[in-house]
């Protein structure tokens, strides 16, 4: 067995465990990558909690996460419910909804960079159909973050695929039984479908949040963290302080805070899931 898992084991030691431990150590040092690290105790953490940019990045990231992830999930679930019926052109709709998710990464950022352009872009043009004069989106500190949220809804199709798979796992017999008992559509959804797909919902919520804590591409390509730091995401802040200001010690402290938050989140949601989420076959 050890022979087979040895590639992973070596990878784990060299590319995960060693970096984790050394960044923990660096986080207690003053380190510019060139000169040897100087131990300074908790000074990096103290500086971090007094640093305006740190708090800005935390607020931006949390606001983005708390608004965009739930809406994305609702959209994905909504699409999935619509498509889980017998409806003409089902296959076409499903592919069409998923298609935007294939333009992820930088390509998507470039496309939406144009869409949100106030002079020539598509978004304000579409708003003008309804007589709305759109804002300057990415160029306005009040709207830039919302623009990125709107962009994130465009890829709800991949979440939809997961929900569709979950919905197909809901036994038809349960739905039939509920119907015989006189439950309406909404009641069936609330008391049968929703509990049955709650593991998928929870999984997507955790993964969505963890992903959203690590937003980087959009900030790097579309806004460079601006205007006026309105899209100064946590990882963008981490990237800047590590690779623009060469403050490896301070950045390692930032990295560890991110790590701890991600771990806490995972643990918290797992715990909640034992209490509130229905798993087939009863309590585990």
């Amino acid at each position: 067995m050890y022979l087979f898992i040895s590639p992973w084991l070596i990878g784990f030691l060299v590319f995960a465990l060693y970096p984790l431990l050394s960044s923990l150590y660096y986080s207690f040092t003053d380190y510019d990558i060139i000169h040897p690290p100087q131990f300074i105790g908790l000074a990096n953490y103290a500086e971090m909690f007094g640093n305006d940019l740190f708090w800005k990045s935390v607020t931006v990231t949390l606001r983005y996460t708390l608004i965009s992830v739930p809406i994305q999930l609702l959209l994905a679930l909504g699409f999935a419910l619509l498509l889980n019926q017998r409806i003409p052109l089902r296959g076409f709709f499903r592919t069409a909804m998923y298609f935007p998710s294939m333009v992820s990464g930088v390509a998507m950022s470039l496309l939406w960079y144009w869409i949100f352009n106030p002079q020539i872009g598509l978004f304000n043009y579409m708003l003008s159909w309804f007589g709305i004069r759109g804002p300057a989106w990415l160029m306005n500190p009040d709207t830039a973050l919302y623009a990125l949220m709107i962009m994130s809804f465009w890829t709800a199709g991949s979440g939809m695929i997961l929900f569709l798979a979950g919905l197909q796992g809901v036994p038809a017999s349960l739905v039939e039984a509920a119907k015989l008992d006189g439950a309406g559509r909404f009641k069936i959804f609330l008391h049968v479908t929703l509990p049955m797909i709650s593991p998928v919902l929870l999984f997507q919520l955790i993964m969505g949040m963890i992903d959203s804590f690590q937003v980087f591409t959009q900030a790097f390509v579309m806004t460079q963290g601006g205007p006026n730091y309105s899209t100064w995401f946590y990882v963008y802040n981490l990237y800047t302080s590590a690779f623009k200001e060469y403050r490896a010690g301070y950045s390692s402290a930032l990295a560890w805070v991110l790590l701890v938050v991600v771990m806490l989140f995972t643990a918290l949601v797992m715990k909640l899931s034992n209490r509130y989420v229905h798993y087939e076959g009863g309590k585990r």
Binding site: F4, G11, V14, F15, F93, V103, G105, M126, G157, F220
Partner: protein, 294 residues
């Protein structure tokens, strides 16, 4: 559904058939789907049509739906202004090597985790699972220092070599698949005198085509889209990957962004992914469902 009486002859169907014309919910759903699909596809439509517009037409407002004159030369221009061909090749090379590395190492480790259930194996497995949540930004600084000590900065190595040491998601996915292979196969192999390695290569791998394809597709997409890692490691122009080169199109060195090129680049960057999707749609969907990677 509740608005309809349970129709006798159709009641044995898993999803009861509805007479579409009579079901208001069905009609509303259909309209909702048409509207959302239109909204979802509109940006894509404009991405393609804008990529074929002239520089002057780009700056018109409202944007024209179809190009007034089709500028196929835009697709030539991007290869001349950016060293787009080189970047495309770089991304392809890195993507393909990442796939090879991921497949080899993850399939090996997954086999180890699937076939041995002795003492300690579950501890290792849990440890492996716990690294699935590990955020890359949390380990990128020491990794960078490590690779710079190895003199790997401005080479493809930091982007490729880690893939040869397995990734937790793919190991997990393949282990689940290997666990479903019947034990009898391996017993028979052992009786015939196969070594474990040969059983891996000649029994497990050939039976796992679909799962391996899924892993390959997602490893490729991940590498193809990755921006942060190549931004950290690559600096000379002839080594840049596609995402890094494309990101430079929005930099402030352009007074007016070359809009037509932005769209051309996006269309071209999307091509391999769409091709993969067209060829292996089933694997694609399976991969999303199994791993939750989007």
């Amino acid at each position: 559904m509740s608005t309809l009486p349970a129709a006798g002859p159709q009641a044995n169907n898993a999803v009861p058939k509805r007479r579409r014309s009579a079901d208001p919910v069905g009609i509303v759903s259909f309209i909702a789907l048409v509207v959302t699909t239109f909204l979802m596809l509109l940006p894509l439509f404009f991405m393609v049509s804008t990529s074929l517009k002239s520089k002057k037409e780009m700056l018109k407002f409202p944007p024209t739906f179809l190009p007034e004159s089709w500028q196929w030369s835009n697709y030539k221009e991007i290869f001349e202004t950016l060293s787009f061909g080189t970047m495309y090749m770089n991304s392809l090379i890195i993507g393909i090597l990442t796939v090879v590395g991921t497949l080899l190492s993850s399939a090996l480790a997954a086999y180890g985790f699937a076939r041995y259930r002795g003492k300690g194996s579950s501890t290792w497995f849990l440890l492996m699972l716990s690294t699935m949540m590990l955020p890359y930004p949390a380990i990128m600084i020491p990794q960078f220092i490590l690779f710079s000590k190895l003199n790997w900065i401005d080479t493809f190595l930091p982007l490729i070599v880690p893939a040869f040491f397995g990734s937790a998601y793919n190991i997990f996915l393949l282990r689940q698949f290997f666990s479903t292979l019947p034990d009898e196969l391996f017993d028979a192999g052992r009786i015939d005198g196969c070594s474990e390695f040969r059983m891996w290569r000649q029994i497990a791998l050939p039976l796992s085509g679909p799962a391996l394809a899924t892993v390959a597709i997602f490893a490729f997409i991940y590498s193809w889209n990755d921006l942060l890692t190549p931004v950290l490691y690559l600096s000379s122009t002839e080594k840049l990957t596609l995402p890094v080169g494309m990101a430079s199109l929005t930099s402030s060195r352009f007074r007016i962004p070359p809009w037509h090129l932005l769209m051309v680049a996006s269309v071209l960057a999307m091509l391999p992914i769409v091709t993969l999707f067209a060829v292996a749609q089933k694997r694609f969907v399976e991969g999303i469902v199994l791993t939750g990677i989007k």
